[in-house]
């Protein structure tokens, strides 16, 4: 179908700091005991898209991500992994690999997307309207990626996907206005020309940009070449395209000009007649009407391009793993309400317990829980709405509620863990109480300590103390 897929897998995001580390880049964060990138890879594989380019920030991260993908998808997908330097932004990343993009349309997907919206639907909307860009929007998660972790606080202003303000046309097919990031707080400025052309605009604040775009390659190349300062697709490129849609500076298909020169008048007349015939027969969008102008006798056609949206229906699941809270929410959802995404089959109790896991007596594992292989639970434990990774050793009388416990974690007797994320190789000694905490990889929490809403990580913090 002449599409190329680029997955922007990111690197070691600062927003997820205690969770990600050199060893675990963002793309490999476990969601229900599977790296988050596997969700998007599987979604694409399901849609028969098997040639993918994965762009990772940082060499080390690229090696790790590439290594994992090659292990897991060895004969299923054809994936090329490209490493780009840190902090080039999404647009920079695309710029770096732009000479690899050859297909007519480029699908750019964020590697932290967990969703079940068929990519084909977005691509089809793009093709149908011959759009320059098509973006997918989904209903924003109800919790809102608000600042929960203390580390996320300072990133608040820059945090994407917090809240977008989006203007749609009455048919909800075209994007008329978009304000992202810091712009959200400012006043909404709508161009008069757009408003006049469409005559009606629907302003929505409840939609989230899923970071799933389809670009026309020629346009994308042009923008990336011309606008060197553009760093982010979401904050620079997309708003630019939306802004300029009625006075397009993007050369869409450079053919008409050339044809005009070389072919003689008769053939040209025919061409015009043909295109007019086709144009007249199709239902015009406001772009075409505007291009014609109020008075058809104007021979100068205004140049326009189309920015489409695909608004996923609310029944579809769609979330981005771009904050710590989102991480725990997604983990919860994937084994809970969006369980079809996890790819596991649930037991009668609506949970997944690996057969090799060992449970002590009087230990209960509630619904919407997951227990990885080789994990051991002592007596009288209770696990509710939590994911526990592989080879964890949990003592007796431990309570785990609403939490994510990664692999090889040791938890002593009498601990109580609530709403927390505990990374791999962490050791919790006896009677530790954690509430809304993040514990970085390899950390040791001493016996009897209590933490609330803190982020605990090994190296830097300990050294600084």
């Amino acid at each position: 179908m002449d599409f190329q897929v680029v997955i922007l897998a990111g690197g070691t995001s600062k927003k997820l700091v205690p969770l990600v580390s050199k060893e675990v880049p963002k793309a490999l964060l476990p969601v229900a005991n599977r790296p988050v990138i596997s969700y998007i890879l599987e979604l694409l594989e399901l849609s028969n898209l098997k040639n993918l380019i994965v762009v990772v920030e940082g060499e080390d991260a690229a090696v790790r991500v590439g290594g994992w993908i090659s292990g897991a998808y060895v004969d299923r997908l054809h994936v090329e992994v490209a490493a780009v330097p840190d902090d080039v932004g999404t647009a920079g990343a695309l710029r770096a690999i732009s000479h690899h993009l050859t297909a007519n349309d480029i699908m750019v997907v964020s590697g932290d997307l967990v969703c079940d919206v068929p990519p084909g639907a977005v691509a089809a909307a793009h093709r149908r309207h011959d759009a320059v860009v098509t973006a997918m929007f989904c209903s924003a998660p109800s919790y809102g990626p608000s600042d929960s972790g203390s580390s996320a606080g300072k990133e608040k202003a820059k945090k994407p996907g917090r809240c977008n303000i989006i203007g749609l046309d009455p048919t909800r097919q075209f994007l008329l206005h978009i304000a992202t990031g810091a712009e959200v707080e400012k006043d909404i400025r709508v161009q008069k020309s757009i408003l006049r052309a469409v005559s009606q605009m629907e302003i929505r604040g409840d939609l989230m940009d899923a970071h799933f775009y389809v670009f026309k390659r020629s346009a994308l190349h042009e923008i990336l070449d011309q606008k060197e300062i553009y760093q982010s697709l979401k904050q620079d490129v997309l708003p630019y395209l939306v802004r300029s849609q009625l006075r397009s500076e993007v050369l869409l298909n450079g053919t008409p000009g050339i044809e005009e020169n070389r072919s003689e008048k008769f053939a040209f007349d025919k061409q015009v007649m043909l295109s007019q015939l086709l144009a007249n027969a199709s239902t015009p969008s406001f772009h075409e009407l505007y291009a014609l102008g109020p008075n058809v006798s104007h021979s100068v056609k205004r140049r326009t391009h189309k920015c489409c949206v695909y608004v996923a229906s609310s029944s579809k699941y769609c979330a981005r793993l771009n904050s710590i809270q989102a991480f725990s929410e997604i983990n919860r959802d994937v084994i809970g309400e969006a369980s079809h995404l996890s790819g596991y089959s649930f037991s009668a109790h609506n949970n997944i317990i690996d057969p090799s896991a060992e449970l002590g007596s009087k230990t209960t594992v509630g619904p919407q829980c997951m227990l990885g292989e080789g994990s051991q639970l002592g007596d009288k434990c209770s696990v509710k709405r939590s994911v526990i990774g592989r080879h964890c050793r949990i003592g007796s009388n431990v309570k785990v509620v609403n939490s994510v416990v990664m692999n090889h974690v040791t938890i002593g007797d009498g601990c109580s863990i609530q709403g927390s994320v505990i990374c791999s190789n962490v050791q919790l000694q006896e009677r530790v109480v954690l509430k809304d905490c993040q514990v970085g990889a390899g950390f040791v929490v001493t016996a009897g300590s209590e933490y609330k809403g803190e982020s605990l990580a090994r190296k830097e913090k300990i050294q600084s103390q």
């Binding site: 290594g67 090659s70 490493a83 068929p118 691509a123 007249n280 027969a281 199709s282």
Partner: protein, 653 residues
């Protein structure tokens, strides 16, 4: 001859039941369009135009070039080259017999899935080459996947696949000599002799039945008997086919998941004019369909044989399958999507869009190894067409264009290289668009403008591309006239026409069809577009055209129908029931943009309410004063002459 026909038409037109009553005494010319159909394909090749009598005997003036054009076609059927060609029997079929689009869907299709697997293998390797050759341009490709490790698994897949593929090909090669490709199935080899015979016989019967069903429209008297027989015969044949396929299926399942699906697809190709009240066939078609469609529940009694789907269920389904439909070319897919979404409408535009998509597809086409371009390309085009039909039923003009294209493919000289063949086909398509549509429109405009004088009030209905060009051209010539645009819900296409005309400075009146009887007083001429003109002079066009024409007739206002000759068809149709299209019923029950008019909101699902949104209607020739076509201005009675004399030209351009 004229008066009696007129009388009879007056009576039969509105009701179907009376059609049957009139049938025994039908004039001979009507029943004659049947036999050529059912005769053996090669025979009907060149003869039907010459031996089927039509009511009008005046031969029209012929261009000098005609004779040149004619010599080739007359010779061609004699050449033995035609027989082995899979599409050989599709060319001649006289009536708008949709099976012709399918008859040639040769079994060559299924190996394409095999090709897919190979190409994937290849892709893997090539990808490696690409990435290794990449210089370090600011970044490097760290890992390249798809190592050679999986190669072993891939080869096993292809080993499983190969034998059936080869045997299939052999079967085709042998059987296509004397049989229709539809019946040549590889599964035959595995059945016993008796079974084979049984299957063959039942298939033959089914074929006959299918053909009879097609010609039912014209062969009215015998249709009942044939039909009941057909239904009986059809059942065993289908069940036996199913049995056969079931026995083979397990062996093939190993090959790949989409293989059986594709087999299924080519095995029982759908009948484009399938009778949708026939449960068996609908079930079969559903299994095969690319687009999953939910059928509307409440369908109007008389129109149950037409496809009608729950609107809004098709588009998301098709969209989500975007990347699964590998065998459909992107440009064809796009056109299909736009048909389905209603972005393109209008006979000319739809036809041009389809042809251009096919042109793109041909441009990107390459013959797989060990295949003949002629057959493989025909199969490809067939699969595209069946996809397009699922999106929206074909119009007659598109049918004609498809027939043209397929004939061109079938008649490619065998010694042409692939690139030559492709460029020939592309230029053929261009020529068809230019000569049959663009040039034809120019000629029509030239003719029609002579009928417009100063002070005229011209009425048009809906939005017809030809009429629009006429009006604009007349305006450019400086004629002083006024235009009345009559429009109707739900599409309100007239508004777009109105907008364009006003932009050019014409003075217009806009009204809805409810007021047509009032406005007709002022009108001096009515110009109408058409989707098709049938050989009894019936004009098949946007619904509402018939009433406008009737009112005009009653007011003795001349009705001029503008229609390119490529839209003519030799089918005879007396009503708008047997062949039509149903639109979205919601479109008429809801008024867009006005929420307060929602009286039918919860009634739409009531069992007692049946919504009918017809797309086309048939205007009897009595209401049509003149048809303006690229061959000049002719009375409706002369349509069969044009069809007869120039049809060959349509095919041979």
């Amino acid at each position: 001859m004229e008066p009696p026909r007129r009388n009879s038409r007056m009576v039969i037109d509105p009701k179907v039941r009376q059609v049957g009553f009139f049938a025994p005494g039908a004039p001979p010319d009507r029943s004659q369009s049947g036999p050529p159909d059912s005769s053996s394909p090669p025979l009907s090749d060149a003869s039907p135009p010459s031996n089927s009598l039509s009511p009008v005997m005046i031969p029209p003036p012929r261009h000098a070039s005609d004779n040149i054009l004619r010599t080739t076609p007359l010779l061609a059927p004699l050449s033995p080259l035609r027989r082995p060609v899979a599409t050989g029997d599709t060319i001649p079929v006289g009536s708008y017999n949709p099976s012709e689009f399918y008859a040639a869907s040769s079994p060559t299709m299924s190996p394409s899935s095999k090709g897919g697997e190979f190409s994937e293998n290849r892709r893997g390797n090539s990808g490696k080459v690409v990435s290794s050759s990449v210089p370090s341009g600011g970044f490097n490709l760290a890992g390249v996947k798809q190592s050679n490790a999986p190669a072993s698994s891939l080869t096993t897949v292809s080993v499983v696949n190969m034998p059936p593929g080869l045997s299939e090909k052999a079967g085709v090669a042998v059987e296509s000599q004397n049989e229709r490709p539809v019946s040549s199935k590889p599964l035959k080899e595995k059945t016993s002799k008796a079974e084979r015979r049984a299957i063959q016989e039942s298939q033959r019967a089914a074929k006959a039945a299918a053909r009879a069903e097609v010609s039912k429209v014209s062969v009215i008297s015998s249709s009942g008997a044939v039909n009941s027989k057909a239904a009986k015969v059809l059942k065993p044949s289908s069940s036996s086919q199913k049995k056969g396929s079931a026995s083979v299926a397990p062996a093939e399942r190993k090959g790949g998941s989409d293989r059986p699906l594709e087999k299924d697809r080519k095995k029982d190709v759908p009948h484009p004019r399938m009778q949708f009240d026939d449960k068996n066939r609908v079930e079969k078609a559903k299994r095969r369909a690319v687009v999953k469609q939910t059928e509307a529940r409440n369908r109007v009694e008389l129109f149950r044989h037409l496809p009608q789907y729950e609107h809004g269920t098709q588009l998301p389904e098709l969209e989500s399958k975007f990347f699964q439909l590998d065998q459909v070319h992107p440009s064809v897919y796009k056109v299909g999507l736009r048909y389905l979404a209603g972005d393109i409408s209008g006979g000319n535009a739809r036809c041009i869009a389809m042809l251009q998509a096919f042109r793109e597809a041909i441009k990107d086409y390459s013959t797989p190894p060990e295949k003949a371009l002629i057959r493989d390309l025909t199969a490809k085009i067939n699969s595209y067409i069946s996809f397009l039909i699922e999106c929206r039923p074909l119009s007659i003009s598109m049918g004609n264009a498809i027939r043209f294209l397929k004939t061109r493919i079938a008649n490619l000289p065998l010694n042409l290289s692939e690139s030559e063949a492709k460029s020939t086909l592309q230029s053929d398509i261009d020529r068809f668009i230019n000569e049959k549509i663009i040039l034809a429109d120019n000629v029509i405009v030239g003719h029609a403008v002579t009928k417009i004088g100063d002070g005229d009030v011209l009425l048009t209905y809906g939005s017809s591309s030809a009429v629009e060009m006429i009006l604009l051209h007349a305006h450019e010539l400086g004629k002083q006239f006024r235009v009345v645009i009559v429009d109707s819900r739900p599409k309100l296409e007239g508004q777009l026409l109105l907008r364009r005309l006003l932009g050019k400075g014409l003075s217009c009146t806009y009204t809805h069809i409810n007021a047509v009887s009032y406005i007709m007083h002022e009108v001096s001429r009515v110009f109408l577009g058409a989707s098709s003109v049938l050989s009894n002079g019936t004009v098949f066009s946007r619904v509402g055209t018939a009433s406008v024409a009737m009112v005009a007739h009653a007011f003795r206002v001349p009705v001029l129908v503008c229609c390119e000759a490529y839209k003519f068809h030799e089918r005879v149709q007396l009503d708008s029931i047997c062949s039509n299209e149903l639109g979205d019923p919601d479109a008429i029950s809801k008024v867009r943009g006005r929420q307060e008019i929602s009286y039918l909101e919860d009634w739409a699902n009531s069992d007692n309410l049946q919504l009918l949104n017809l797309i086309y209607d048939a205007t009897p020739s009595d209401y049509v004063s003149m048809i303006i076509t690229d061959y000049g201005m002719v009375p409706p009675t002369s349509v069969p002459v044009i069809v007869r004399e120039y049809r060959r030209e349509h095919v041979w351009i």
